[in-house]
Symmetry: C2
Subunit: 305 residues, 2 copies
Amino acid sequence: MSILVLGTVALDTVKTPCGLRKDILGGSAVHFSMSARLFSGVSLVAVVGEDFPKQHLGFLRRKGLDISAITQSAGKTFKWSGEYQGDLNSAITHHTELGVLLNFQPAISNAHKKSKYLFLANIDPVIQRQVIRSMQSPRLIALDSMNFWINNKRQELVKTLKLTNIYVANDQEARQLSQENNLFKAAKALTRLGPKMILIKKGEHGVLFYSDKYIFVLPAYPVERVVDPTGAGDTFAGGFMGYLAKAKKTDSQTIKKALAYGTICASINVEDFGTGCTDGLKSVDLDKRMRRFSKIAGLNLDIRK
Amino acid sequence: MSILVLGTVALDTVKTPCGLRKDILGGSAVHFSMSARLFSGVSLVAVVGEDFPKQHLGFLRRKGLDISAITQSAGKTFKWSGEYQGDLNSAITHHTELGVLLNFQPAISNAHKKSKYLFLANIDPVIQRQVIRSMQSPRLIALDSMNFWINNKRQELVKTLKLTNIYVANDQEARQLSQENNLFKAAKALTRLGPKMILIKKGEHGVLFYSDKYIFVLPAYPVERVVDPTGAGDTFAGGFMGYLAKAKKTDSQTIKKALAYGTICASINVEDFGTGCTDGLKSVDLDKRMRRFSKIAGLNLDIRK
């Protein structure tokens, strides 16, 4: 089952204790797609500027992604530059240049409107809502956001969340939007905003999944050398949503396995800059790491050998 | 199989967002014993002052603990007062009064020298070593410590660690002693100090267990209302060591189950002040929570129904 993902395609400049990379391919839609593609067809809805290097589009196409809904507009591509220090848990943003994102109006083709799985990566909640409304009969809609929208467009975000099934947030965002400090209470409060399923990403501390029917807690896969955490959350969401789209169900066992795949994908993403590690990634690599994760986290997942 | 635990028996004054309790029963040996007793016989080696309330000793005895090696000395009982704010993750110590701990010289009876399982809770590493040396043929020795000893008696601590099998630390202590920021690397480095097994407690973020043969990561049990986290780490260690002493082995499946029992015990400890929640605790309560934990953490533990 194919996934439509709305989000950013960006040029990132990243500094970490392991080095500096300038203007590398990044953005929420890219990181999401790089893991989701291992489970499902993926179509990206995004905008880039005139300056966007052609080879990046070629790269995405070669990865099997549908880039027909990536539009190129007059202006500059969205750029982010930031730095990670010490424990690499949070980024210090040096600079954000919205460029063509400022006037982005996604046009969804008739074919894309038929998509059953929709992932709304971090972007203006008004645009997220427009895309939801253009869909014909979506089966599952997941939404990610960030503190900027919680602070500056809270009402729009809340309005959009009502139309979704899964809210994906990091721990800080979940606390901020729910105004609850305890994550378990936060998750419960967030279901009252609309989405019946809440996925709270805690970075190196794993993930908490909450629904009225069941909750799950999973630790992160222990990574010995974190090179660049940029996009880990979106890569997680890609693995999670990708597996759900492949499985075509959301029962508890499927959700648990989707969470484990998200965990694995994120752990691979952080081992190199940008898409360095997800570039050559194959299903067999995922399954290998899944078996190891299953073992060290003591999970009763039914993984193919 | 009985466990000998060396540590503190204290009077704690604790302030948390849920209230204030003055001079309640606390200390590392007490919290350890309150969970270990559910799996194994436990003998406490500790000292209290003349001011120590008799009813506390009666309480410990009624819990089935062997208190014959708790000596009463001239002077005051060890007192700690502290406060937890906001996310309750770390204590602000207001006051520490060592009292009788200052001249504590544990005398181990011949019967206690025969114990096979020894837990050295946080106390001066020189005293910890004395107790190790007085044992006849211990099967498993675990040691906990804290940042005070890492800073002030590092060489003594390192000398003592060489004689142990399991080092139990929180994430901050593990980083401090190993001088490695990444916890996985830290654990690996710590095995080079002697203990073949490293247990790193990450509070609300769960636990990492490392040995050359296998590693485990487990999330914490999600607690909706944390009342008082004092002693959670020792209660964890009690559940962990208690289960090992009961199982009389340290293969990977036993370690995993011991970690899960430690997790459950700690989650129960934090739901009330002091020993409020571990007081009435029964094996059947543990097993009930274990089944729920198994479910929400997706664990393949073989728990009795």
